[in-house]
Symmetry: C2
Subunit: 150 residues, 2 copies
């Protein structure tokens, strides 16, 4: 049940380069073992961890933080609170990020709606070609264009 790096790459979606890179960076819980010929051998557990790892990455956890986490895990029992703390801190970050994105999204949706409206009614000229002198006027129409001052 040993897996080659190529196999793991295929199944994890990461490149072999990245797998070696992650190893150098200490992102595997256990030092990756080698065959006598020097080739790496992985196991199902590594794939499971890589899946989690990838999820953490894609939710914005840095490699440094992931490393911290697996270092705690490597130290064995006794630091459960720290591990939980680390995960909860990340939860908080993710939540904050979601709030931030939602807020931006709302603003954007509003602007797009107003714009689309104007465009549809063919009244967009003033809006879409703001100049220094009529910026204030355009403003009252909720423009979100980069203001011009030519």
């Amino acid at each position: 049940m040993d897996l080659s790096i190529g196999e793991v790459a295929r199944r994890s979606g990461l490149s072999v380069h990245t797998l070696r890179f992650y190893e150098r960076e200490g992102l595997f819980a256990n030092p990756v073992r080698r065959l006598s010929n020097g080739r790496r051998i992985y196991h199902e557990e590594d794939l499971e961890w890589l899946a989690i790892c990838t999820k953490l990455r894609s939710s914005g956890m840095s490699l440094a933080t992931i490393r911290q986490y697996i270092e705690l895990a490597r130290q064995g029992p006794g630091n459960e609170q720290e591990r939980l703390q680390l995960l909860r801190r990340h939860e908080d970050h993710v939540e904050a990020r979601i709030r931030e994105l939602r807020e931006t999204l709302e603003v954007m949706r509003h602007k797009v709606r107003v714009y689309a409206d104007h465009v549809a009614r063919g009244e967009a000229d003033r809006l879409w070609n703001p100049s220094h002198s009529d910026a204030a006027r355009a403003d009252t129409h909720q423009k979100c264009d980069p203001p011009g001052h030519a």
Copy 2:
């Protein structure tokens, strides 16, 4: 009502370095004007745009995309649909990102709950020190630890 770069930095929260960098990158709708002595002069409109710009950035829009957008705006009226399209594409990205984050968050919350439970009941030993040979056993407890195989 002219603003110096320092003033704009103060009010936008960006550094003077970044303002100059953004200018080089073509992220201002209008070429930033200079005083006869070469110093940049900004206006309120620039601050407004920088605020929007910052929001777009913080929602993950790349500088390249922002540049595309202001290039459309610079071309003047006639490409409203393209601008709307660009904004809507970004909306889609942001939505997708929110979904992704929410999903991760759910998974994390679940794992944290299960962990905290185990820790609270003092049963975490097996869970928190998984070894190759008992990984399967630990697995039945929904571990999210990096699996060990020592």
